[in-house]
Symmetry: C2
Subunit: 452 residues, 2 copies
């Protein structure tokens, strides 16, 4: 008999089935044994009654044992079942726990024994959660996060493929740190020093000269010593870059469409998971609001008492929070673009604004209080690019490989980079980005705590 996934049991009333999964909870009482079983698709109740030979096996099962269960699907008529059915009629969202049926068990086999350190339901502090991730992730509330994250990445690719982008793999071992910043992990490379890529930026731009529109999904590495609720030392960067644009506005438009698509699709396809986190409808309009940095700073001072922002080269985290609050309350959007950051605050490859002196044709996208994306138009003229490197105190010699692309014809182009863990965190309202990361690297931790 083929295995039935638990979420499909409601459609199999009266039938004999086999399920496979984990013994989520176990209670044996005299001549009866009660279980909740769990597989990746759902949970269901099971009961052993009046079958001494089955009961004998059942009594030896402990929580989180992996089991194969044969039984008959019976309708449930208790109060919990009825409430669940009412709830479904009202909201259209199926509970992860299938409550309208239960399994009358006729046979049970143990596929793998388990010995757990604590109950999966226990409230854990972050370090205990991380120390025990191979176990704690089994809690459906935790695994839901990574189902949502997989969906975000899938929809990112889907939208870009539909818009004639081609995916490529940007290499992770890179040469000497060309940009000269801190934050690069050093790799021992056959007697030479190499580094781990902090971004796929330079390769993305090279590939615009080859495939015009490209995207890449991969790890980026930042050797930053601070450990906060919003930083990661290794994260997944979603990046696209597009050629033959007229201005940074084409990039914003593509990005707007992309994020609206991701949010709409995730809300449609991941209802159960979002419900689990009590996520309210996310406001993603056709056109996200757009403000230049100076406009945003004036608005902050006008709308929020005591805020000082005008004339500063960047937004403070608190400013980002307030702008998002303003956009949600007044502009019907959980997203807001801020454009035109000063040259001093943006990387050397950023296109300089023709309209606003000292500013760049760049933007950040804010979502639910934080910046999730940086993007903009890039310099495509070889001489201008070399000059911009020099202005930033960088050595063009170190960029000779990258510069070849510009010497041999790169169209006007631009793109974005987006951290998927932070987007996942913000969609689900998690308090720490590490809760949206498989498996977070911190200054003191690679899986387990490091010996110092």
């Amino acid at each position: 008999m083929k295995r039935t996934m638990i979420k499909n049991l409601s459609q199999m009333k009266g039938e004999e089935i086999i399920i496979k999964g984990w013994a989520d909870t176990v209670r044996a009482q005299g001549k009866m044994a009660f279980f909740d079983f769990r597989d990746v698709s759902g949970k269901v109740q099971g009961v052993v009654f009046g079958k001494p030979e089955v009961l004998e096996v059942a009594k030896k099962i402990s929580a989180e044992d992996v089991v194969e269960v044969k039984g008959v699907v019976n309708e449930r008529n208790d109060k919990t079942a009825k409430e669940a059915i009412e709830e479904f009629k009202k909201t259209g969202v199926k509970d992860f726990f299938v409550k309208d049926v239960e399994i009358e068990i006729t046979e049970i086999k143990v596929l793998a024994k388990s010995e757990i350190p604590f109950s999966l339901d226990e409230d854990l502090n972050l370090d205990v959660y991380l120390d025990n991730m191979p176990f704690t992730l089994k809690n459906p509330k935790q695994s839901a996060v990574f189902k949502v994250q997989a969906k975000i990445i899938q929809k990112f690719r889907e939208y870009l493929n539909q818009n004639d982008f081609t995916e490529f793999m940007a290499p992770k071992i890179v040469g000497d740190d060309a940009e000269g910043g801190a934050g690069v992990y050093e790799v021992e490379y056959f007697g030479n020093k190499a580094g781990l890529a902090t971004s796929p930026q330079l390769y993305k731009q090279i590939m615009v000269g080859v495939l015009e529109r490209v995207f890449t999904v991969g790890q980026a590495f930042r050797a930053e010593k601070h450990s906060t609720s919003r930083h990661l030392n290794e994260y997944t960067s979603l990046d696209f870059e597009m050629g033959f644009i007229d201005s940074y506005k084409d990039v914003m438009k593509m990005h707007n469409g992309l994020l609206k698509y991701i949010i709409d699709e995730v809300q449609k396809e991941m209802q159960t998971e979002l419900e689990e986190y009590g996520v309210e409808k996310i406001l993603a309009p056709e056109e996200f609001p757009v403000m230049s940095l100076p406009e945003a700073q004036e608005l902050l001072e006008r709308e929020f008492e005591g805020v000082k922002a005008v004339g500063e080269p960047d937004l403070e985290p608190e400013h980002e929070r307030l702008l998002c609050q303003y956009a949600k309350e007044n502009l019907g959007s959980d997203f807001i673009f801020i454009t035109h950051y000063p040259v001093s605050k943006r990387p050397f490859y950023t296109f300089k604004s023709k309209d606003m002196d000292g500013m760049t044709d760049s933007f950040d996208l804010l979502f639910k209080g934080v910046e999730i994306t940086s993007g903009g138009q890039r310099i495509h003229d070889y001489d201008e690019l070399v000059q911009s490197m020099k202005d930033k105190g960088l050595d063009p010699e170190k960029f000779s490989f990258y510069l070849q692309a510009f010497k041999t014809g790169i169209p006007p182009h631009g793109g974005i980079g987006l951290g998927v863990e932070r987007l996942t965190q913000k969609i689900l309202g998690l308090d720490n980005v590490k809760k949206a990361t498989l498996f977070p690297r911190e200054i003191n931790r690679i899986d387990t705590l490091l010996n110092k």
Copy 2:
């Protein structure tokens, strides 16, 4: 006016259009100028005639300048055009060079100037190709490789998503080299020694306990000092792992279906690119042939004179080549599974065969002469796994994080790992895997040659 992609020009005869792309070739003769223009979708011919003001601009254009061209689409009636149309009728494959129309240019604008080191058509040795990749990749014959590779990865994901797999990102910075082998790049991690992941294997297995069926696409790093036509120091590994299997045969079946899907779809959707490389129809039957290692060795000695193979613990590269030749000629398949490699030749997590003493329930998949995949069932029993580590001289203490998954219930499971560059190489018949890699890392090279 919106840009028209070159491949669509055949449908726009008589219309005024704008194309954007590169000046692929340039010839100015007296009162005329001839061009081939190229964008990511195709090439087309363009001509300036009888328009002195356009001619003046046209004469200043050099090869690989990025241009915007306005003009009228005219039908071509020359011999080349007629031959191309005949060829299309016969094969159904569109040439990358659109030959049935040409553009009568009315306006031409330079978007970016170019200065090239040599012609894109030039025959290059591998080092020159690699030294100049930001330029040499612009040759459509080179970029075709990465269009095909993107399609392979897309279809890999598509098939697995359809089969209820969830994608996850396996971390690349890992702890001390647990498996104790050579070949791990060392990373300086805040005063500790870390490594770069040689495979996502352990995380895949952990995730089987969480999401049952998972896959991951990402870089794997091998600090191997040899530089050959089939090895890479950084490559892209396509990995899946599935829980609740009955045996390794379930994994082989899934993998067979997956590869047949990829091959069928690539042959359907990438005709122009495969044509470019003269790829013959790839034989990917519903069921790939399967042989155990001892069977394969006997067959080798029986079918090929002078071959010594029986009793050896592994296949030589030459054996793999001969087995593929045999499968193609006698079994109608470019693929062949070889099963049951000895315990001594497989990693500690490999499931030990119940039928063949000293052997494992593992397999390799050979394709066009080389191994492209390793896979098999894995040990899911905690005690057996710990014993297997000890038998291999490994320290279970170092695997404490990973072992948690097995202590808390992992179903019977198995999976595969597949290098996408080698698969791309073999599909297209390239002589070196580096030709199928963006941007290959070698012992002496990260983009440019390293200073030693």
